[in-house]
């Protein structure tokens, strides 16, 4: 029984992914591209050698952080679409600490940067959670609006208060070297941030499935009325779920600064927060499943660069595939519910 359900839970994402690739192939054909050539280049770009695979894992790191957090929010029935904005907040706060407190020793500075990211992203998400629980404001709309506020706010910070003194570009100074995350392998950009993302996923998995806190969060997600009847504080759990998911996204932002860019600029995220939604939904909002799903989507983005360069296929094809993956997961899920009803 156990094995059967495990296989089934693997089956849906895998099939959904290939269905999405197939539909993507039709779109490629319609646009006069050779799908095999395009997907070949995409695969090459992601898995050709160790160096490109290290880039895949690097690109997967923010997706895993944000996705694992979103899994918690979605399990609570809170539709946090604001991972993008929470990532930006984490990056801004992390950068500020990394620059202005850089005289601190590294063993204090680095954790402060990462923790600052968690707090920044967490508070930003809690704002939407508060507006939902206090005023009934739809969290989908508020989190999307707060995304824009965060992105525009970042643009203001890097061209105004935090601009590199004497610099000509809208970007900040580099953060202190003490706040840089060490590389895992020489000659690659892959850094300890990836390990932190893995630990975060495992931690959130145990939190949501193996703790009483997670039980309450899931109960609210399944049926808020029943949860309230059972004495679970619904609003408090909504706030908590938002804080956790925002904190995870903010951590992703701080890791991006500490491990990859070392400074803040506009468009620090190419849409990690939106891709992470598909990552979490693909694996039925399971923080552990987010790890392979994040690597898969990280691979798509990394590979799409070579595909664009060599075959001329615009890399935004990946966004279409992400949406199609979500649609086919939904379709399979609904199909299974229908067949279950028939069996009963």
């Amino acid at each position: 029984m156990r094995i059967r359900t495990t296989l089934q839970s693997l089956f849906t994402p895998v099939v959904a992914f290939f269905v999405a690739l197939a539909v993507g192939a039709l779109i490629l054909l319609a646009a006069h591209f050779d799908p095999l050539q395009a997907y070949g280049a995409l695969y090459q770009g992601a898995f050709a050698d160790f160096r490109s695979f290290s880039e895949v894992l690097l690109g997967a790191t923010p997706l895993i952080c944000i996705g694992a957090g979103l899994a918690v929010a979605f399990r609570c029935g809170v539709w946090n679409i604001g991972g993008e904005g929470q990532f930006y907040l984490g990056a801004v706060v992390g950068t500020a600490i990394g620059i202005y407190l850089q005289s601190l020793p590294g063993w204090i500075l680095l954790p402060s940067v990462l923790l600052g990211g968690v707090v920044g992203g967490g508070l930003w998400a809690m704002l939407a959670g508060y507006l939902k629980s206090r005023f009934g404001a739809n969290e989908v709309v508020t989190t999307v609006m707060l995304n824009y506020v965060a992105i525009i706010g970042t643009s203001y910070m890097v061209s105004g208060p935090m601009i590199e003194p004497g610099g000509r570009y809208p970007q900040t100074l580099q953060i202190g070297q003490g706040a840089w995350l060490p590389q895992i392998f020489p000659q690659t950009r892959l850094n300890i941030g990836f390990i932190i993302a893995l630990l975060l996923s495992v931690g959130l998995y145990f939190l949501i499935f193996r703790s009483s806190i997670g039980y309450a969060i899931r109960a609210v997600g399944l049926n808020p009325e029943a949860a309230r009847y059972a004495g679970i504080h619904v609003n408090r759990n909504i706030l908590l779920a938002m804080a956790i998911s925002g904190g995870a996204a903010g951590l992703g932002g701080a890791i991006q600064i500490s491990g990859v860019t070392y400074r803040l600029f506009e468009q620090i995220s190419p849409g990690f927060g939106f891709t992470a939604i598909a990552v979490s939904l693909l694996v039925n909002n399971n923080p552990l499943g987010v790890i392979p799903a994040g690597i898969l989507f990280g691979g798509l983005s990394t590979g799409s660069r070579l595909m664009q360069m060599n075959v001329g296929v615009p890399s935004v094809l990946v966004n279409i595939i992400q949406g199609l993956v979500v649609l086919s997961v939904v379709a399979f899920g609904a199909y299974r519910t229908l067949t279950l009803e028939h069996e009963e």
Partner: protein
């Protein structure tokens, strides 16, 4: 510039900037009153904007562009209804997916057809302003109400028509009953899924038209992700407008005013504020609007719940 001229400029831009929101939110009123929340408005508007642009570019005919957007809205609406009404999938998840696909597909097609092409220009003509005879000569008011383009004028017909259909026709009654109490409607012989299909499809056609107004009436080119949150602002306008066509229109005009203010102030060359403070206005206004409503009673009771017969 006198204060009056500034106010006139802002007010005339208000209606123009509100137009995409009016189309999308009035359409969404129907969808939500029937019980389906369409979070894919953003993606549908993007596809509408792109398809209108592409067809207008190749045919040189702006009305064919409008038709193309309506057709794309029709197909996306059918897809959305298939997933949410027939398959009964989670409406939020499907909406998120439609947004991803809409943003990806419009960007993909724009880049592969236009961006790497050797066309000498990527611009299209846009709908001209029509100055209504005599009326447009009225000082102040003329500039605000009677010197704009056809897609903006059309909203004057759309909104009362939508209100009429929703409140004075048997179809409108069916829509409202399906959104409030689908079981009762079903018992009375109303097909819940047929009503919801019609509303979702009509809503997404209007959203696509709203998107088309961005390329056909305002910008003369498609820009990736040019809808920039208007789909979600339209969703907020529905809530702020208490799920009525007039209310949603009023809310759209309010949000349009913030866009207009932002544009006008940015155009002045002696602004002391960094431009980001203006750019952020419509988004902050939307959040504040959602927070300022205290009464929740008007929300359709079956909103977001798939109907199990």
């Amino acid at each position: 510039m006198t204060l009056l001229a500034f106010a006139g400029g802002v007010l005339s831009a208000t209606w123009r900037m509100a137009t995409p929101l009016i189309y999308a939110s009035v359409g969404e009123v129907f969808s939500e009153r029937s019980g389906v929340i369409n979070l894919g408005l953003e993606g549908i508007m993007l596809m509408g904007a792109f398809s209108a642009y592409a067809v207008a570019f190749y045919t040189g005919n702006l009305w064919l562009g409008v038709l193309a957007a309506l057709a794309v809205g029709l197909m996306t609406g059918l897809l959305f209804a298939l997933f949410t009404v027939t398959i009964k999938a989670n409406q939020i998840v499907v909406g998120v997916a439609i947004n991803l696909v809409g943003s990806g597909l419009s960007g993909f097609l724009f880049r592969s057809i236009f961006l790497n092409s050797d066309y000498s220009t990527l611009n299209i003509p846009t709908f001209n302003n029509i100055n209504l005879p005599i009326l447009s000569e009225i000082p102040f008011l003329g500039e605000i109400f009677f010197q704009t383009n056809v897609l903006v004028y059309l909203t004057v017909i759309l909104v009362p028509l939508a209100a009429f259909v929703l409140y004075k026709t048997s179809f409108g009654l069916a829509v409202r009953s399906v959104g409030e109490h689908p079981k009762a409607a079903d018992t009375m012989g109303i097909s819940v899924s047929r009503v919801r299909y019609l509303c979702v499809v009509a809503g997404s056609m209007l959203a696509a038209l709203g998107g088309a107004s961005l390329t056909l009436a305002f910008a003369n080119q498609f820009v990736e992700d040019m809808v920039s949150g208007r789909g979600f602002i339209a969703l907020a306008a529905v809530v702020f407008g208490a799920w009525t066509p007039w209310g949603a229109t009023g809310a759209s005009l309010l949000f349009g005013a913030f866009y207009a203010l932002q544009l006008r102030v940015q155009a002045m060359n002696n602004v002391l504020l960094p431009y980001q403070f203006l750019q952020v206005l419509p988004y902050v206004a939307t959040v504040l609007a959602l927070v300022s409503i205290r009464k929740r009673a008007q929300s359709p009771k079956a909103l977001g719940v798939p109907y199990q017969a």
